[in-house]
């Protein structure tokens, strides 16, 4: 049909843009440093990724419905602040963790009520609750840094089946999220709601309930991310979790999740995005690059990924342009489709 249709290689490459970027990054660092490809370093990267990764997994749920949650950093902070207070006043670790998780879920539910019941834009709601949460957390901690007891550190340093606990938690969250999104009715309905809210309603999906749960899940993940972050550095500083939402969004988008909803995945997508960001940090660290350059390089890579995605979308748009008749009546596009779908 059009030139791009008859030459889908470009489109296929664009489809895998973030994977290719990841490979390029790995090759560059691998070539520049022998320490980079050590197994220990891979585990290191995963440990460093886990907290942001979990946050990004929750964010993916929200982004899939074409929403956004700017409050996740504050959720992390509130959960951490309350948890810190409790454990310092003698609560057991288990009870503290349970309360922290509950706070995450409730916080998300609060966001969800405003978004689904009062029909206020998610951007505004979560912007406001971001303030509320930050203020509340600072109030609890009286703006002082709080050092947590040894038990938290031991928790973070624990290894199960040889895997560090943060990585294990990350893996569990990813597996659960992936199964939910790909295997459950709820997960598939999230995609339907994100693709076309009106059509989803027509198909009999309880769209409000889907949206509600998505924000609860995001809040819950934020609490988990807070716990994992604390287990690595057991102190609650006033800036804990601040601006982490942007990293989470960036990781999800880097992994191919669309801000317009309906497109994206936790695995490999978001995980890949989060690991890619952390890998760049890690590689630059090994190469002894000036740390001040990290954000410049990271944001440059993100920009590149986003630009490639925009180009991909435009190509798709051109391919899907309405046609009135078929040139030469060969039905050629169908033949192509057959090849494509056989993957």
């Amino acid at each position: 049909m059009t030139t791009a249709r008859s030459n889908p290689i470009g489109l296929r490459l664009l489809n895998q843009a973030s994977l290719i970027l990841f490979a390029v990054v790995l090759m560059i660092f691998g070539a520049l440093s022998s320490a980079f490809f050590q197994p220990a370093n891979a585990v290191n990267i995963l440990i460093q990724t886990s907290s942001t990764g979990i946050l990004a997994v929750g964010m993916t749920f929200v982004l899939l419905t074409a929403g956004v949650d700017l409050s996740v950093g504050s959720i992390m902070f509130v959960a951490a602040a309350v948890g810190g207070k409790l454990i310092l006043s003698g609560w057991s670790l288990t009870a503290t963790l349970v309360v922290m998780l509950a706070i995450g879920g409730l916080y998300g539910a609060l966001n969800a009520v405003f978004i689904t019941r009062l029909a206020i834009m998610a951007f505004i709601v979560t912007l406001a609750t971001r303030y509320l949460g930050r203020g509340f957390g600072l109030r609890i901690t009286e703006t002082r840094a709080m050092n947590l007891p040894e038990s938290f550190y031991e928790f973070g340093a624990a290894r199960i089946l040889g895997l560090p606990l943060p990585v294990l938690i990350f893996a569990v969250v990813v597996v659960l999220a992936h199964l939910t999104l790909t295997r459950t009715p709820f997960g598939r309905q999230i995609y339907a709601v994100g693709a076309d809210l009106e059509a989803a309603r027509k198909a009999g999906i309880n769209t409000r309930w889907v949206l509600f749960l998505v924000y609860v899940i995001c809040g819950f993940c934020a609490a988990v991310a807070g716990i994992v972050a604390l287990s690595q550095a057991p102190a609650v500083s006033p800036g804990f979790g601040n601006n982490r939402e942007f990293m989470a969004i960036a990781a999800a988008v880097l992994g191919g999740t669309s801000l317009f909803g309906g497109r994206g995945a936790v695995f490999p997508g978001t995980v890949l995005g989060a690991v890619l960001i952390q890998t760049i940090d890690n590689g630059l660290n090994i190469l002894n690059v000036n740390p001040y350059l990290y954000p410049l390089i990271t944001s440059g890579v993100i920009f590149l990924a986003v630009l490639l995605d925009a180009i991909r979308n435009r190509t798709l748009e051109r391919l899907n342009r309405r046609r009135i008749f078929v040139e030469a009546e060969t039905d050629q596009p169908n033949v192509k489709n057959h090849c494509d779908s056989s993957r």
Partner: protein, 319 residues
């Protein structure tokens, strides 16, 4: 009843709220109504107001600009790097101030232009495009200074941000300019049309790409002007300047009645929105509340404003 309803639906609702708030808190807040406090409020308001006005333009066209506060930081650093007597490239030269000012505005406009190109030509969603420039630009500001603050700014420059009259003149001029552009010129009319319905705008012969591009440039420029005021006011080039103000700015614009869906909003509303948040902030400060309590109140105020706006829209649809 009718009056209440009309006020509720009016554009001056937020101004009304400001007045009510001010009147209600004056008796309980020592020094709230004093001349020196009003000066403090103004000095705090004006630079924020300039950024907010730039952002208002972007929201009207249906976009978002998350990079504005990082632009302030970068421009501040660039200004410091050029003008500082300690380490400036033009330390002591009579050209330091004009070149410094020009460079601050230039770098801000360039970031705005990059956003504009990414959004109009690259067709990247505004949220993501400006998010990445935010990360890059703030990283750049920190790298340039290795996160140190730059002092020793020339007194001629510092005066720009410390003499309230000069600050008022600069920001007032910028705000007035935006207001006139928005209400009286072709550019303004086009801006609203694009925000309402970009497809209809294209069909009607509106140069959508060009108008959108320049709106991001203006947003950058206004952030640059704010950077001049902030930097001069605080006498430092600071790579973390205004870092925590982004959501203040967005919140103030939204309180002022500008819609995130585009096509709706005005400069006067933003003025009131910024003023209202500043009044809340200042009064709660005066009665000795902690800044974190204030942050919570601000969050509540933003939520309430959004809720009111949703109600108003429902009313309007019913009317």
């Amino acid at each position: 009843m009718n009056f209440v309803k009309r006020l509720f639906l009016s554009e001056y609702l937020v101004l009304g709220l400001c007045v009510v708030y001010f009147a209600a808190f004056t008796p309980f807040t020592p020094g709230f109504a004093s001349w020196s406090n009003l000066q403090t409020i103004l000095a705090y308001c004006l630079p924020i107001l300039v950024v907010s006005v730039g952002l208002t333009l972007v929201l009207i066209v249906g976009g978002i600009d998350l990079s504005v506060t990082s632009v302030i930081a970068l421009a501040s650093v660039v200004g410091g790097k050029i003008m500082s007597a300690d380490e400036g490239w033009l330390a002591g030269s009579p050209w330091a101030i004009p070149v410094g000012l020009f460079a601050m505005l230039l770098v801000s406009a360039v970031v705005g232009a990059v956003n504009g190109v990414a959004i109009t030509i690259g067709r990247i969603p505004a949220f993501i495009a400006t998010l990445t420039t935010m990360m890059f630009v703030s990283g750049l500001a920190i790298w340039l200074t290795l996160s140190r603050k730059i002092g020793g700014l020339p007194s001629g420059f510092v005066m720009l941000g410390q003499n309230l009259w000069i600050v008022a003149a600069i920001s007032g001029g910028a705000i007035l300019l935006a207001h006139v552009a928005l209400t009286k010129t072709l550019y303004g009319k086009w801006l609203y049309a694009i925000g309402h319905n970009p497809r209809a705008a294209i069909v009607s012969g509106v140069p959508v790409g060009r108008v959108t591009f320049f709106t991001y440039v203006f947003s950058g420029l206004f952030a640059g002007i704010a950077a001049i005021l902030f930097t001069a006011g605080l006498e430092t080039g600071n790579p973390e300047m205004a870092r925590d103000n982004l959501l203040d700015v967005v919140g103030a614009v939204v309180i002022g009645g500008t819609s995130l869906y585009g096509g709706k909003g005005h400069v006067i509303g933003t003025v009131f929105g910024v003023l209202f948040l500043a009044l809340v902030d200042n009064s709660l400060n005066l009665i000795g509340l902690n800044f974190y309590t204030i942050a919570m109140v601000k969050g509540g105020v933003i939520l309430l404003a959004a809720f009111t706006d949703a109600l108003r829209n429902r009313f309007m649809a019913g009317a």
